[in-house]
Symmetry: C2
Subunit: 166 residues, 2 copies
């Protein structure tokens, strides 16, 4: 009997190739989109996602926590991000009448306008980087794969304030 303490199951060569391709592609793509948006709109990709989230919400507003969950970021990060977008005049905060702790992030007209202006370029970048290069079958496969991977991962801050669960 082997006394070695649980030799880890290293990745096979083939798994390595897949994993490195994944890392390579995702970092390049994220960088690419970040820079495209930074250049065209002066904001990083994640901030764009925030504006889109608000634009799609009823009355173009969302509670901070809801927006944070939608964007998969911490409330802290969102707080800083909204402060920045507020400075740009693209978002404004509004307090929640029914819960005095709460805040709404509201997309302003200027914010809507920015979005209208930059969305086409962003979509074009996404198409060019991904959809224009993949077959329909590959797109479908990718969707399924990403669905599965996401399901296996905890959303952020689950139990963040419940240290005994960690």
């Amino acid at each position: 009997m082997n006394t070695a303490p649980d030799e880890p199951r290293w990745l096979t060569d083939e798994e390595q190739r897949v994993w490195r391709a994944y890392l390579h592609a995702t970092t390049l793509l994220e960088d690419h989109l970040d820079r495209q948006l930074q250049r065209d709109a002066g904001m990083p990709h994640i901030y764009y996602g925030l504006l889109v989230g608000l634009a799609e919400a009823p009355r173009r507003r969302l509670r901070m926590t809801e927006l944070a969950m939608q964007a998969k970021i911490t409330r802290s990060r969102l707080s800083h991000a909204i402060a920045r977008l507020e400075k740009n005049g693209w978002v404004r905060r509004e307090e929640c009448p029914s819960d005095k702790r709460g805040q709404f992030a509201v997309l302003t007209d200027a914010g809507t306008e920015v979005l209208r202006r930059i969305a086409p370029g962003h979509v074009a970048a996404v198409r060019q980087a991904m959809f224009d290069r993949l077959s329909t079958e590959q797109q479908q496969a990718l969707g399924e794969i990403m669905q599965i991977v996401a399901e296996g991962l905890q959303p952020r801050e689950a139990g963040a304030d419940l240290p005994w669960l960690r």
Copy 2:
């Protein structure tokens, strides 16, 4: 004839689903790995990649530019990162005899040791998040897809110093 200026090709509903699944999964996974490594080794995912890059190189050393390209980050970012890893004692700089501008980043014994200690946990996290959940066919498809996407994207800093090409 329509006078509208090139109505952009918006994503179809299906494409939207794929794209959002992609964003959702990749951000959750990156967060997950970042936090796993931060907890177990006190460094972000990208820094782990740097140590691995060095560990695999002959004599456990690489020129800064080479390492930056391998990790797909800018030389500036690498410069900061190596400074940090140097403080930890995991990497040391060595000057290049043949090119006096050059620097080698060298993995120290302590760095090798850290890697040995944390690699199993990292591999386990990657397996659990991705490979254990995907069929062989899905893994293969993912590899091909990521390969294609990566090919379409410029490596960082290509022409960074040639502004007229941008």
